[in-house]
């Protein structure tokens, strides 16, 4: 386990910024209640076995005596580095992203299952959408009852979405909670 170095930190923050925008500040400075002390500590990012974790500092302190081979997970895993060296956010970061998301999309009940199978979000399945979405923005996908289902990249801006035909892709799927069942091994 080691802290992220400069390049890694910038890459990770960029990815998160796409989804949360200025709320990134919130994420980094969130007071954390984990750890046995009663005063809140802070969160930090750590890298372990090419996975990036968002952990409270007190947890980090106490996990230092666990050997590198045996440490499996700390706090919340938010993403991993591939062999090629690029960073991807995984579904396990959903809770963090959903709480701070700037761009949101709500799905109709009928198309929830389709998204959970890994398909993209089509115009016909769109219930609500926040304004001012630019193509290439990170979007968090919710169900109509505000349950976070996953996230993806916006394919069209909000204005264009209104003009789309019902089969047009609105959000390109990146991760969804169905992966907990489908891709358990790859998490």
């Amino acid at each position: 386990m080691r802290p992220l170095d400069e390049t890694e930190t910038t890459v990770v923050f960029e990815k998160i910024f796409k989804f949360v925008g200025n709320n990134l500040k919130n994420i980094v400075e969130n007071p954390s209640h984990e750890g046995p002390e009663s005063e809140p500590g802070r969160y930090c990012f750590r890298l372990q076995k090419s996975r990036v974790y968002y952990v409270s500092e007190s947890l980090v302190k106490r996990a230092t005596n666990i050997s590198r081979k045996s440490l499996v997970s700390l706090g919340t895993c938010i993403g991993k580095y591939t062999h090629a060296g690029s960073f991807h956010l995984t579904i396990m970061s959903l809770n963090l992203l959903a709480a701070n998301a700037k761009h949101k999309v709500w799905l109709k009940p009928t198309s929830e299952m389709s998204f959970l199978y890994g398909n993209h979000v089509l115009k016909g399945g769109l219930g609500r959408i926040t304004d001012s979405i630019v193509p290439g923005d990170g979007v968090v996908v919710f169900s109509m009852s505000d349950v976070p289902l996953g996230f993806g990249i916006a394919a069209k801006s909000t204005q264009d979405c209104r003009k789309l035909d019902p089969n047009g892709i609105v959000v390109l799927h990146q991760a969804d909670i169905g992966e907990y069942l489908r891709d358990e091994d790859e998490l």
């Binding site: 984990e34 499996v72 299952m113 069942l181 998490l187």
Partner: protein, 620 residues
């Protein structure tokens, strides 16, 4: 074999064979008066002039009369009186009898109705009485014969049985018989047969009927009386109801229940003792794949797995270790009780199971957990001794309590397996005790649980821990559930073992489970300080003062320990054992604390003297 013939006759309704038994059995049986329209024509010959006869034993007489009518269709059709309905099948059979005996009567009927009818009625009465008598005798015979008839099969019969495929119904009746006899052995035992033989036969039958191996069925027979044993085994054959646990980090039980009901799941709150459990009766959607499940609102977990966590009762901002955490049901429950504060170390030895553990933790939104991959016995070296507040040890076990989930346990566990598990569990529990800090302000508890009902894995392990470490049993906080065994066959356990809890499928409708809660009294191994972790410094001083006074005498140390114990809680037996084991290191440790106490005492004395000195010169 009267019983068999009865069945045969019912089956062979349309045969016209007439052994004399036929009539008897028919009179005894009270068949539903089935109406068979085609045969009604034949019945027309029966007259209404025999109301008495008809009312008493309708079937019989109508049978007999109708048989006559069968014989002489011509005369019968002349008298067109209808009759009450009756089972025509019986008619045929009864009729054949009547044919033989009353053929002459029948023929005379056609000539003159009056006198012949009277004769007929008398004959019928007589017949009826005879039949009733015979029937009663038969019944009596049957009742008497059954208990007498039952005897253990001889070796020859056993060999015959063994050679062919098992005759399941016969086995089942034999099992029921033996259980009945064993449950009231004094009264029902046949002459000259020992109880042991019955028990052996029962074991063999149960093993072949339900598919257990000899070892397992033998242990179960030793643990339970026969009637309860049958209930237990039957309960193992069926599955326990599916239950789920609400994730209080994300939702409330009421809201979750509403959402799931909308999806078409039929559920109810689990029971009074749980505020987060729900039991699922049936569901239109797969309960393990709803969007709510994937979003982490609930966890599929059996009811018995709630218990060790409820016994552990972790508080916020504590350090907790879960030594065998996968797949993470209990760990996530602990985290939700702690509201994501404090820190949980979730340890799992087997690598393939780590993935499901991490996935579940992330799915349920748990952020205060560190997952590591060690053998549980190494944990005290990794985390340091006396470093955490609570430990949950859901030990790997033989799984004999969850046979309803996994039938292979019936045949795969042997005495050797149980012994290996017991050894592993003993090592793990000692490691767990070493991890806990007895001086923790809010904790100092270890919860040990298994999903097994075997005594060597449960009570024996706790007893071992009581002897080897300074811990004592405390009530689990689960008021339902049976108390653990304090003695079993030749074993004698510590009396406080009645505070442990056992759960059975046939009593509580959950998987077989065992839970025990230990409190660590002091951080010394094999010591018998008996200090409570929450003791103040004063009390510690007092105790060490006591030691101070009685330092030279070893025997009185024991007494002093006993004397101190009322302040803390008693653990006399354990103390005695530990005292005799090790004197040296304890002495040294005591000396250190004694020195401190001595110094403090000396200071106090000086102060007193100073005060006296200042007072004497008459200041105040």
């Amino acid at each position: 074999m009267p019983a068999l013939t009865r069945n045969k006759k019912k089956g062979a309704k349309l045969q016209t064979e007439t052994p004399p038994l036929n009539r008897r059995t028919k009179s005894n049986t009270a068949p539903a008066k089935s109406h068979k329209p085609p045969l009604k024509k034949q019945r027309k010959g029966i007259s209404y002039e025999k109301p008495e006869v008809v009312s008493n034993d309708d079937e019989e007489e109508e049978e007999e009369v109708s048989e006559q009518s069968d014989e002489e269709l011509g005369s019968d059709f002349s008298s067109e009186e209808e009759e009450d309905t009756e089972p025509l099948a019986d008619d045929f059979l009864g009729g054949s009898d009547d044919e033989e005996e009353e053929g002459t009567l029948g023929s005379s009927d056609s000539d003159s109705d009056g006198s012949d009818l009277e004769k007929e009625s008398k004959a019928i009465d007589g017949e009826r009485e005879r039949e009733e008598r015979d029937a009663k005798d038969e019944l009596q015979m049957n009742i008497k014969e059954q208990p007498d008839e039952f005897r253990l099969p001889t070796k020859k019969e056993l060999e015959e049985e063994a050679s062919g495929p098992p005759d399941l119904p016969a086995l089942q009746t034999r099992i029921k018989e033996i259980v009945r006899i064993l449950s009231n052995f004094k009264d029902l035992r046949p002459e000259g047969v020992k109880r042991k033989e019955f028990v052996e036969q029962l074991k063999a039958d149960l093993a072949s009927y339900y598919g257990y191996n000899e070892f397992l069925i033998g242990t179960l027979v030793e643990m339970f009386p026969p009637v309860e044993l049958m209930e237990l085994i039957e309960a193992f054959e069926k599955k326990r109801p599916t239950s789920i646990r609400t994730n209080t980090l994300k939702t409330r039980r009421r809201d979750l229940a509403d959402v799931l009901l909308n999806r078409g799941v039929n559920l109810d709150p689990l029971s009074k003792w749980s505020k987060v459990g729900l039991v699922v009766y049936d569901s239109q959607v797969p309960i393990g794949a709803t969007p709510e499940y994937l979003a982490g609102f609930y966890m599929l977990q059996s009811a018995s797995s709630f218990l060790p966590v409820m016994a552990l009762a972790p508080r916020e901002n504590e350090r907790v270790v879960d030594m065998a955490a996968a797949p993470g049901g209990k760990t996530t429950y602990v985290a939700s009780l702690m509201k994501n504060t404090g820190i949980i170390y979730a340890n799992e030895m087997k690598v393939p199971r780590l993935k499901s553990l991490t996935a579940n933790l992330h799915r349920m939104g748990v952020t205060n957990t560190v997952v590591c991959n060690y053998d549980g016995r190494e944990l005290p070296k990794v985390f340091g001794q006396n470093s955490v507040d609570r430990v949950l040890l859901d030990a790997p076990c033989s799984g004999t309590g969850v046979i309803s989930k996994d039938e292979s346990v019936k045949t795969s566990k042997s005495a050797n397996d149980i012994k290996k598990f017991a050894d592993l569990q003993k090592q793990l529990i000692l490691a767990a005790i070493d991890l806990v800090d007895a001086e923790s302000k809010t904790g100092g508890y270890i919860v040990y649980s298994t999903c097994s009902i075997m005594i060597p894995e449960n009570e024996a392990v706790i007893d071992y821990a009581l002897k080897k470490r300074d811990v004592k049993l405390v009530p689990c906080g689960l008021d339902f559930g049976q108390a653990g065994f304090t003695r079993f066959r030749e074993h004698r356990f510590h009396p406080t073992l009645e505070k442990t809890r056992r759960f059975y499928p046939h009593v509580h409708n959950m998987d077989g489970f065992f839970v025990a809660k230990l409190k660590k009294m002091s951080n010394e191994t094999k010591a018998s300080e008996g200090d409570e972790p929450v003791e103040t410094k004063e009390q510690a001083q007092l105790s060490s003062d006591d030691d101070d006074d009685d330092e030279p005498k070893q025997d009185t140390k024991v007494d002093k320990n006993k004397g101190r114990i009322p302040i803390s809680k008693p653990n006399n037996k354990g103390n005695k054992n530990k005292n005799t084991n090790v004197e040296g290191p304890r002495k040294q440790k005591k000396k250190r604390s004694q020195w401190k106490a001595e110094i403090a005492q000396a200071r106090e004395d000086k102060r007193k003297v100073m005060r006296k000195n200042t007072k004497e010169p008459g200041r105040k």
